[in-house]
């Protein structure tokens, strides 16, 4: 089985309240070096057999049409999960 990773992030210009809340919580754990946190999504898409160019193209299409909303999010990466071919 092959696996494709799709990563989606809120657009830089869009406010990310979840990331902001996480950013606010970190100093309470004594972790105070991070000036900003942004939170996105990672999807893992599994196919039978190995990951083909066609499968990557389908993952790209799914990423753009369903897994992200282009008004508020960017698809930042679509790639084969490393170490899982064969």
């Amino acid at each position: 089985m092959g696996r494709i990773i799709v990563e989606v992030m809120p657009k830089p210009e869009i406010l990310d309240p979840q990331g902001k809340a996480v950013r606010g919580a970190l100093p309470r754990q004594g972790i105070d070096i991070f000036t900003d946190v942004r939170q996105g999504k990672r999807f893992e898409l599994t196919v039978e057999g190995s990951v083909t160019q066609e499968a990557l193209a389908s993952a790209q299409a799914a990423a753009e049409s369903v897994l992200s909303n282009p008004i508020i999010e960017d698809v930042v990466a679509v790639y084969e999960a490393p170490g899982e071919s064969k």
């Binding site: 869009i14 406010l15 309240p17 369903v66």
Partner: protein, 229 residues
Amino acid sequence: MKVGVVTFPGTLDDQDAARAVRLAGGEPVAIWHASDDLRGVDAIIFPGGFSYGDYLRCGAIAALAPAVGSVIEAAGKGMPVLGICNGFQVLCESHLLPGALIRNEHQRFICREQELSVENTSTPWTNGFSAGERIVIPLKNGEGNFQASAETVAELEGEGRVVFRYSDLNPNGSINDIAGICSARGNVVGLMPHPEHAVERGFGTTGAGYRTGTDGLRFFTSVLSSLVS
């Protein structure tokens, strides 16, 4: 006149929407999300709730349901469509309306009686209001922050497609205080606040007396009068 109310898994306010249609004098018709049969209705309501538990993005999975495909086709022919709260999110995710709704700026769920100004009274859902009229209906959501690109906002403003604006305060960070918008043709309207929760004396918003506010009822009487005219 038959008004369809679509139920998705996780929808909460379908019964209130159906009741509002009935109180306005119409016949509510239940539409199940998994069927593409709109059962001969004259108008459609996507009610509030948390379809699919807000998984992926609010309204995103519901937007792919067979019933929504039929509604997109019917809306293209001019059928009046109203999306309330999660229903508004479904309209945006299905591209019947532009823009998107993200988490409230203050990061909290909000529930309040919200004052709105009615800015467009030519839609089938607002023809019973007067332009600039202030109304009060309940607002309850965690992700009601309307966002769109600068070009889209300019287009909405320039074409008079901002139908409702938050008027006493902006409760969620929505751009330009936008509470509701409509399609270019005007037949598709979406808003975050809930008209169906203010349709009957004794159960409405705080009006002249306790729970007497029924400003929401006119959404439903408006669409019925637009259908007969």
